[in-house]
Amino acid sequence: MKEQLIYFLNSTKKRTFEYNKAVDGLRQLLWGLFKKIVIADNSAQIANEIFNNSTEYSGSTLVLGAVFFTFQIYGDFSGYSDMAIGISRLFGFKLKQNFAAPYFSRDIAEFWRRWHISLSTWFRDYLYIPLGGSRGKTYMKVRNTFIIFITSGFWHGANWTFIVWGALNALYFLPLLLQKKNKIHSDVVAQGKLLPNLKEFYQISKTFSLTLIAWIFFRADNIGHAWSFLKTIFSKSLFTFPHFSEKDLAVNTSILIIIFLIVEWLGRENQYAIEKLGLNKNRSIRWLFYLMIIISLFWFTGQEQQFIYFQF
């Protein structure tokens, strides 16, 4: 945050147009639009239906609802961030990355280093470190961790669901902190490799599942709703085939999410997923790729959803 401010204060000097920066900005803007319009808005239609009528669905369908919400919130937040960063880049400003492929994190500590980086950094600089950070006695560490996560929850809204969401994340994070394992995954997962190994895959899946459970509290109307949602998930109906009235929408969105995940995986080492995708290929292939994204923006436009952060 501080660095960002310093950067802006120092950037009063005359900026000149640079072709590569402008193209890079447009590319990130396009990817942000895809995340918001195609991924988030389509996922939202399904997540809203399932969360709003959760008592009518089986555990397996509720899991689907939670998964779609997980992608809705990511597409929404990171999509808008990409759009803002991309537009800034067009004007010659270089803003810091805000989401660094967080769903490929191997533990919760890594997740929080990769999710909404500007907000996390602000909390770290202006709350966690002044409180003493991870220094001091165990009691202090536990206290500071809970304060920062609960405040983060409270920042999202005056609802107990956000407080529980924050507290749950604190509970996820504490064991890593106390065992001093919170910084073991500071690199990018499976760096330089095409696929993760089995251990990494297990770690990613575990972190994703923990995050998904926490998002249920974030999305639920109240604690009771979240609790009954979870109870249904962990019931026998979890092992039934999911049923959803708008099957086509669910299938199409799932396919889009899979494609999205593949692209995000391939570009996980970059500032945004398509930053360097196909740069070594010839122009016609790159343009075809951009064209496909543009067509998908129009073709798969979901019902426009209000940006989640509008409510905060």
């Binding site: 147009f17 193209v23 343009w287 067509i295 436009t301």
Partner: protein, 314 residues
């Protein structure tokens, strides 16, 4: 900067071309017939000789030499004309579902002529009947109407420049004007732009909201009956009511029907039954089933005209 702009322009052109190709090849939009304003009457008609597909329809629509869609048989007498809005135009269904077509199969010795056009209001329908008198002189005009068509006819109740309206204070018929001709020309030529215009209604929404508001006003039961009454008085002096039969859509307002009777119009009210009128799943118009239901109720009316009870005259 020049390189950036030129590359961006080239990319935009390629994107536009690809989009146009996709929309056309996948038939993502309907073909909409182009209109013209007939200079003498101020009526909006279609340019003759056009044809195209309505989205999801298997059959092509064709504009006849009279600038209208649908059945246009003038070979026999009595000749019945059908005037109305998009319900009678029926561009979304095969022609075999049109009122004229369905009735033709029932009354082989008579001719039927359809003059439906989307957006036609009551006064415009009467003006069309006058226009048809000059070109085909039908024996009877059947005018299909809903409640809103009356209010939309009166200029003091809301101005619609693209439709014929009446100024009741000055007793003056106002001709229609082509609305946004340039925008129409662009949207007619580019299927992609038309598709985007329909799919992402940035400003169409405002229009629709306006129309919805107007429709709501029109549907209000406490409409200004004195204005409607003035409208009918004006019509009785200008049009030959003996040749006009008003066919009211189901659930039309009783007071309006009563007023038309008092002003000397013949009328019938179509009635809904069973599972409603089988409205199309794509829009709020009658489906083929709805047209057949309407026809069933119009047949006795036509029979009573062509086979009048003993002693009665046409």
């Amino acid at each position: 900067m020049i390189k950036f702009i030129s590359q961006l322009t080239l990319f935009a052109i390629i994107t536009f071309g690809t989009g146009e190709l996709i929309v056309r090849s996948l038939k993502l939009t309907s073909d909409i017939p182009q209109r013209l304003v007939e200079p003498e009457t101020g009526l909006q008609l279609y340019k003759p000789g056009q044809s195209g597909y309505f989205r999801n329809a298997k059959e092509k629509w064709h504009v006849n030499d009279y600038g209208m869609l649908g059945v246009a048989d003038t070979s026999k007498k009595p000749l019945f004309s059908f005037i109305g809005d998009s319900y009678i135009e029926n561009i979304m269904n095969p022609i075999s579902c049109n009122q004229g077509f369905l009735l033709q199969s029932h009354f082989e010795n008579y001719s039927f002529f359809e003059a439906g056009r989307s957006g036609v209001n009551f006064i415009e329908a009467l003006e069309i009947s006058n226009y048809l008198e000059t070109i085909i002189s039908p024996t009877y005009h059947l005018i299909y109407l809903g409640d809103g068509d009356f209010k939309e006819s009166i200029i003091s109740q809301g101005r619609y420049t693209d439709r014929v309206q009446v100024d009741l204070d000055q007793k003056l018929i106002l001709k229609a004007k082509m609305k946004s001709p340039l925008a129409k020309r662009i949207l007619y030529s580019s299927k992609l732009l038309y598709y985007l215009y329909l799919r992402f209604p940035l400003f169409i929404d405002k229009q629709n909201k306006g129309e919805t508001i107007n429709e709501n006003i029109a549907k209000k039961p406490n409409f200004d009956i004195s204005e409607i009454s003035k409208l009918f008085n004006f019509c009785s002096s200008r049009y030959n009511l003996n040749k006009i039969i008003l066919v009211f859509h189901p659930n039309a307002n009783d007071k309006i029907i009563e007023q038309t009777t008092l002003s000397g119009f013949k009328n019938i009210l179509l009635r809904e039954h069973n599972n409603g009128w089988g409205l199309s799943k794509y829009d709020g118009h009658w489906s083929c089933y709805g047209h057949k239901e309407a026809t069933k109720q119009v047949i006795p009316l036509i029979e009573s005209i062509v086979k009048p009870p003993t002693g009665a005259h046409l």
